[in-house]
Symmetry: C2
């Protein structure tokens, strides 16, 4: 058996998903070099502080401007904010990270190399069908207040599949649904982390609307297992796109109540519905199950939330943790 030493680039490798991907990559015996490019916009160096591995090099800069004389065998493009308050605050930067980032990275791939991309369930917009299969074309308002994220993911998918069509690029595109777990930002702004941080600080959990809107909550270990198998571990030939996430729908209020049960004395406060929040989002996982037999997002929300809760409690207890200035909405939510 011939040993092929591989060089891999991960954009956004200091982020929530990215740092877990880095952990998995470093378990590979065939990995010779791992370059992480991250501008620390929503990522954090602390997510990789535990790594002691000489193969890892972190380059702090915008992915769209990263240059390298070296070409990579595999590129995994994850650089992008993923939470609405973050990408809604800087739409042009969001588009640059995704689209211009991908255009730039394509030039750093060795001929025959593989380009993997984390797309999103947001390509489906406010879906008219549930669950959403990959063939569903979506219902995104391309002029709406969340469109910079949705459309930059759609456009990057287009770039990759079109490049595959004209020049045979080896592509893997995963569409990630709601994911939560350790290493989310304290000021990420999405429901699970908001509820946990609020329970641990103010004691008041903010629920928008009546909480009946459902989401499929994927625990990060399950999602990363799917990404690892799809991006490099399994011998999969289809390029995707493939949905990866949890297909068990749970109403927001049920999550809030579970978090509340972990902190005696905490309470729920109802607010106005969030604007342009899709009413449902649930993956059709038929293709993922065909491509990766045995894979499932099997962690119950109770288990996943307890582990995430413990991680946030440690973070908030650590003397070194200072909440970096986040979007106003989040600061307000945490202050309130």
């Amino acid at each position: 058996m011939r040993f092929m030493a591989r060089s891999v680039l991960v954009s956004g490798g200091c982020g929530f998903i990215g740092s877990h991907i880095v952990d998995r990559l470093l378990l590979r015996g065939d990995l010779a070099e791992l370059v992480v490019v991250d501008n620390l916009w929503t990522g954090s160096r602390s997510n990789l502080a535990h790594v002691k591995d000489a193969r890892l090099r972190v380059e702090v800069q915008d992915v769209e401007n990263f240059t390298s004389a070296h070409r990579f065998d595999e590129i995994i493009h994850l650089a992008s904010p993923a939470s609405p308050p973050w990408y809604m605050r800087d739409p042009a930067r969001t588009i640059r990270a995704n689209v211009v980032g991908a255009l730039n990275l394509l030039g750093l791939l060795k001929p025959g190399g593989r380009f993997s991309f984390a797309s999103t369930s947001e390509v489906y917009g406010d879906p008219a069908v549930s669950p959403q299969p990959e063939s569903y074309r979506g219902a995104v308002d391309c002029t709406g207040p969340r469109s910079s994220y949705d459309e930059s993911k759609r456009c990057t998918e287009a770039l990759l599949f079109e490049t595959r069509r004209v020049s045979g690029l080896d592509v893997r595109v995963a569409r990630l649904f709601n994911t939560y777990g350790p290493r989310m930002r304290i000021d990420d702004g999405r429901a699970v982390s908001n509820f946990i941080v609020q329970a641990l600080t103010t004691g008041a959990l903010t629920v928008h609307g009546d909480g009946s809107q459902s989401r499929s909550w994927g625990y990060v270990d399950d999602v990363i297992e799917g990404l690892e198998r799809f991006f490099w571990r399994d011998r999969i030939s289809p390029a995707g796109p493939v949905n990866i996430g949890n297909d068990i729908e749970v109403p927001v209020i049920e999550i809030a109540n579970y978090v509340r049960s972990l902190v005696p004395g905490s309470r729920i406060e109802y607010r106005e519905p969030a604007p342009h929040d899709p009413s449902n989002r649930c993956p059709d996982l038929t293709m993922a199950r065909q491509l990766m037999p045995g894979w499932r997002a099997g962690t119950t929300y109770q288990d996943g939330i307890r582990r995430t809760f413990e991680w946030f409690r440690e973070q908030l207890a650590a003397p070194s943790v200072a909440v970096e200035p986040g979007p106003r909405e989040i600061s307000r939510a945490l202050a309130g």
Copy 2:
């Protein structure tokens, strides 16, 4: 009355639509300077050869790389191939022209300046409703063989409306439907110009499928009149997007038969349907009529085609005309 001398930049100003826009801009008394940025990918210097006006300067380069110390009062972003064989051949370049081009040009606009963009009916994909109002979210396959064009237009719309949301950018976005007329490329590859050039050269007009698929064909003068009014002439405050085109649907075979009637001895040859060709496309013009009272695409297809036919006949008769190498599909079509 105070005279405000305006500086305007038009990307893609050597193109089919762009050169007609340039003609209209040069009629403005308040225009001090007009810079055209065009890489001549699908545009041609000959489209502006008739212009003798010291206010016009043509910069031959990619719009995404254009730099200028000068800032502009108005930017009209038209740079993009618009015909499927052209954009399908180089999808990454198509995305760069539209999305990276817009990102770059935004940095060249004066504070308070206006940014106008020519989007497309292709944002609606293969539509489930007809006619298509601007509120229709579309049915684009973001992984399909036409997606580089469709998604780069959608993503650029997102960039502009999102920039408007966060920083008050003065935006005008028009969605152009099928447009034809003088200054289309001989090897453009779309139906009207194909039929005319085929009638004038081989005598064999190629119809894909049975020709029953309908299109709304907008004559260029009518479309340009709408763009002029929307982009600068009328006092319009809504940013759009607004559909501009002709809402009278005519089957492809009717157009072919009309062109055939202009060249005795020419004939129709039927071929396989074009892949991923939308089955219908027709603008809902309610908004355009509200914003621009009296505007309509009033030129009949017979009048429009006769004028276009005369223009192509002169082009083909001119000794200087050499057909530049175009996409293979078109060369084949012309050869066959």
